[in-house]
């Protein structure tokens, strides 16, 4: 299949970028999107051009690195998958594919399609943990009985891979789905109760300081999340925060 790629090229964080056209022939429908990008880069290298920089690591939908806005959608047109899980059979011969980096003040572009997502790390570091003695006497988590529905909900929330698609999809560049998932995975379990108040306060404060936008409940984040993280997490975060601020 022959494609016309329009890819965002930007030499560095302070340099102005632009969309550049790259015609690419010989793309197979069974290739993954990243394999298609690899072929493009090999072609560019062979032609003496600078390859397109993009993040990737596991290539099996776990690491959350392969962040690309493909034809105006985070991770492309296929729902519940990351870019590395997207196959070229989703596209047709002659298609024009526009590829851009995530756009948010809190996710500055480093180069081409790579953005700095360390804002997510700082939100996690602010409170996304529980205090457990891991010196060898760690209590087995299964020794505390937990209601099945709560365990399931906590697990669903914990499947967030922090890719940033929620921020990319949101018209306000809000990080509330990510932050709320990281709060929920602990808020639902007894192990998370000890630091519940400090956790939600610190993580929301950090989220605000990073410059993400406000949630206006469009639901775009949930639809585009490759792991299907639910919007109810945001409602839970709102409850947890109100409880923390009013009750303490």
């Amino acid at each position: 299949m022959k494609l016309n790629l329009k890819i965002w090229r930007q030499e560095g964080p302070k340099v102005k970028g632009k969309l550049v056209d790259y015609p690419l022939d010989g793309v197979d429908g069974d290739m993954s999107f990243l394999e298609m990008m690899d072929i493009l880069n090999e072609k560019l290298i062979n032609e003496g051009d600078i390859p397109v920089e993009f993040d990737h690591d596991c290539r099996e939908g776990i690491c959350g690195s392969c962040n690309m806005m493909i034809n105006g959608e985070p991770h492309g047109p296929q729902k519940l998958t990351t870019t590395c899980q997207l196959h070229m059979r989703k596209f047709s011969d002659g298609d024009t594919i526009t590829i851009e980096p995530w756009r948010a003040k809190a996710f500055p572009v480093i180069k081409d399609l790579i953005v700095d997502r360390s804002a997510f790390d700082r939100i996690q570091q602010a409170g996304g943990y529980i205090s457990v003695n891991t010196s060898g006497n760690t209590q087995d988590a299964n020794s505390i009985p937990i209601e099945k529905s709560k365990a399931d909900e906590a697990f669903w929330s914990a499947t967030c891979i922090g890719c940033g698609a929620c921020v990319a999809a949101c018209k306000n560049a809000s990080a509330m789905l990510f932050t709320s998932a990281k709060i929920s995975q602990f808020a639902l379990l007894p192990q998370g109760e000890l630091e519940a108040t400090e956790r939600v306060e610190a993580m929301v404060r950090q989220m605000d300081e990073e410059g993400f936008g406000n949630c206006s409940n469009t639901g775009a984040c949930m639809v585009e999340c490759p792991k299907g993280i639910k919007l109810e997490n945001i409602a839970r975060m709102n409850r947890e925060y109100l409880k923390a601020e009013v009750v303490g």
Partner: protein, 223 residues
């Protein structure tokens, strides 16, 4: 507590609470207005009560105006902050693939509703202030139904009202249901019933206002 006031979540609560307050007001407003169709004497009676009761005039009315102003100002504040959160826009953004047009354009439907409120205040509230406090008209508990009918003689005004109610419905379609999400009321266990109720309300109340406007307009033409 000071962190609460400054947080992005507090801004959501302010937006949601002021919106819910306006939803309650709209319900009350519709309840009174529909009597202009089914029981004009009751409309006169209730309108006179609302117009001359000191609790309504000097306590509830200022609260209502404050609610509108808070909702409007917070909407603009949030829009400005959200625009700043994405200073460089996408060259291609397919919002329709993941969200409704209404949910993404609340600022525009809200702006139309606000502009309509200006006309509505001019039509009824300014008129009332003038009648009661400036020209000091005689207290007449039977004047309201005729004043209302008179407003819907003009087809341009009538259709502006109808168009504004349609945009109000779109605004409420997202806003009413969304306010419960903002306040943290929603949960995974919650069924679809409540969401359906908010959608039904968002359609039925503005549709009711449309009916009232058109009823009086076409009644005038028929007469």
């Amino acid at each position: 507590m000071s962190a609460l006031v400054k947080s992005s979540l507090a801004r959501k609560w302010v937006m949601a609470l002021s919106g819910l307050f306006l939803v309650v007001f709209l319900t009350q407003h519709f309840t009174i207005n529909i009597t202009s169709v089914i029981a004009p004497d009751t409309f006169n009676e209730w309108s006179h009560f609302m117009g001359y009761n000191p609790l309504v005039q000097f306590i509830l009315q200022p609260i209502l105006i404050a609610g509108v102003i808070v909702h409007f100002i917070m909407g603009i504040v949030l829009e400005i902050r959200n625009n700043k959160a994405r200073p460089i826009k996408y060259k291609r953004f397919d919002g329709n693939s993941n969200s409704t047009w209404v949910s993404r354009n609340m600022i525009y439907t809200g702006a139309v509703v606000l502009a309509f409120l200006g006309l509505h205040f001019y039509d009824f509230w300014i008129h009332e202030i003038d009648y009661k406090y400036i020209t000091v008209g005689v207290e007449d508990p039977t004047r309201y139904i005729e004043e209302l009918r008179e407003k819907f003689v003009d087809p341009v005004r009538t259709w502006i009202y109808v168009g504004s109610f349609v945009l109000l419905a779109l605004h409420l379609w997202h806003g009413f249901n969304s306010s419960f999400q903002s306040m943290g009321v929603k949960s995974v266990k919650q069924g679809d019933g409540f969401r359906k109720f908010t959608y039904a309300w968002a359609i039925l109340i503005p549709a009711g206002f449309v009916f009232i406007a058109l009823y009086h307009h076409f009644n005038h033409i028929a007469a």
